[in-house]
């Protein structure tokens, strides 16, 4: 299988070509599967770059998320111990009072494609549940999503709850979603905010790499 072609097919969101290339994989070994997974991840970086340049937008990211999930479902069973070490792990959720999950799922798919293990806590997640999950998983990066302005207050409560649990200094928090602005970021007390999935992922990646 030609990994360069796979990378470009993912970048072009060419579903038929991706499927055809992945069909060839079933007879390959674990090493080829690992190379295919890397190619898909590089393809998703192209998707991110096309989003940043304005060529792709939200509908494309929704499509890309599905394409990547489908590809990973084919590739992962073939890896047999050849799995790559993730850059790091983090948690992501839509905060209490908000049920919007499309943006969160796009970010999650892009995080995973960029080699980050993203623990999805779901939607409508309370500050207490988030703190519990952070404690349990030991994540150092947390992404909070919300489309409703109502979510802003829950984000603030979540950060206060992290503080009360003595975790705030250890955990970097990024907020995202249609409701978010620089002013709200300051009000909430988050470390960063973004309306762009690609930019948000870069911020998380840099945090996890300690940049």
């Amino acid at each position: 299988m030609n990994t360069e072609e796979l990378k470009m097919a993912i970048g072009d969101l060419d579903e038929d070509k991706v499927q055809a290339l992945l069909e060839e994989l079933s007879e390959s070994g674990a090493q080829t599967a690992a190379a295919a997974l890397s190619a898909c991840q590089e393809g998703m970086e192209i998707v991110g770059a096309k989003y940043e340049s304005g060529e792709y937008f939200v509908a494309d990211l929704i499509f890309a998320g599905d394409l990547m999930s489908d590809a990973a479902a084919v590739i992962k069973p073939l890896l047999a111990g050849e799995a790559q070490e993730p850059i790091g792990k983090m948690a992501i959720c839509t905060v209490k009072g908000d049920i919007h999950d499309i943006g969160k799922n796009i970010v999650k798919a892009l995080l995973e494609a960029s080699g980050i293990e993203a623990i999805d806590l779901g939607v409508d997640v309370s500050p207490d549940s988030i703190v519990e999950s952070v404690k349990k998983s030991g994540v150092k990066v947390l992404a909070l999503s919300g489309v409703l302005t109502l979510a802003i207050d829950t984000m603030k409560q979540t950060i206060s709850a992290l503080d009360a649990a003595g975790l705030r200094s250890e955990v970097k928090v990024i907020i995202g979603g249609a409701a978010v602005t620089a002013e709200y970021c300051a009000y909430v007390g988050a470390d960063a905010w973004s309306l762009s999935a690609a930019e948000g992922i870069n911020i998380c990646r840099n945090w996890l790499k300690g940049v």
Partner: protein
Amino acid sequence: MPKLAERGIGMDAQKKLLERKELFDNAIAFKRNKRVPMLSNFFTWKIYDAGYTAKEAIYDYAVMEDVVRQFIERYQFDAYFDLGTRNPMRVTNAFGAGRHYIDEENDTVLVDDHTILLRDEYSEYITGKNEWYWSKGFKRTAKPGLTIGELKNAVQEFLVFGQFSEKMSSMLSSEYGALRTASGYAMVPFENLFLTLRGMREASLDLRKSKAEIKECMDFMFETESLPMLEQSLALESNDTAADISCAFLGHSVLNTSQFEEFYWPYLKAIIDKASAAHKTIFIMCEATMLRFAEFFEDVPKGVLFVQLEQDDVFEFRKRLPNIAFTGGMPTNLLGFGTPEECIEYAKRLIGELGDGYAFGTDKMMSYRNDAKRENLIAVCDFVREYQI
């Protein structure tokens, strides 16, 4: 449509209506006004402001009427987008769950992204729309085992809701001399897929997975639904509304530029061209940003569009599209978390810099408790109403 006096509108209310209508006519046409008109984009926020829960107001039309009256009397906007008729849950709950529901713990109204039309049913929709609606679409939204008795109850609730909507519209003009946003309606087909039939996620996927089918279906919808609706709307009088026709602009928020050019703009342009030729105005309710597609709107003649902006920087918008009048710009974070003085300062800047072609309004649909504080909204509304340009 009967003249204002024939519709039981008293002289005081009639005078106010005419003044307010003129304010919006001028704003849309970029003519100088003595003051900036004010358009309310407040939805469920006014329920909480009036001291009720969402459940109390949405299920009881007498309570909702009190909510709307309190809001009109307290803030005195010139035109209103919502009159308590946004969430007809008594109707939808009567036959099934509906997409909207109340989160009682948080006292909010939420909406699910869900799919009614399946990807392989586009051709069925085209060849037998009513059959599809009855045997597939309605069946999917109705509760399992829906009885004839429950359906009859739902139809009765539907009629009661229609009476309530009419009563609220009439109350607004005859008692308060204030305007609704528009008398007619226009629909870009992608909105129908995005908002109702396919949902945001599935409609997004179809743009790549079922390109030919989605285009064929949208052409069909435009010919058989959008155009007849537009023709009817163009024939209506609009002496108690800010604009002539309203049009939702929401689905564009997921599209890239080439998708917008192919799947959205041809239909919207046709609607704009027809309205423009008939000397009618269109109120566009825009979610997310419009500036991303600014190039498409550059040649729209001045005086046709009046846009409710949400995420666009209004000062940038004015520079980029000086041909389009708009409302919006008052930041929710100031109304919700700032002081009355800060709100007034910002409103002064909006009016000072935007002036002609601008109607005062908020930067989003106001739905939640923390979207505004009462004292901030009173202060800013009192200020804008008295502020001479």
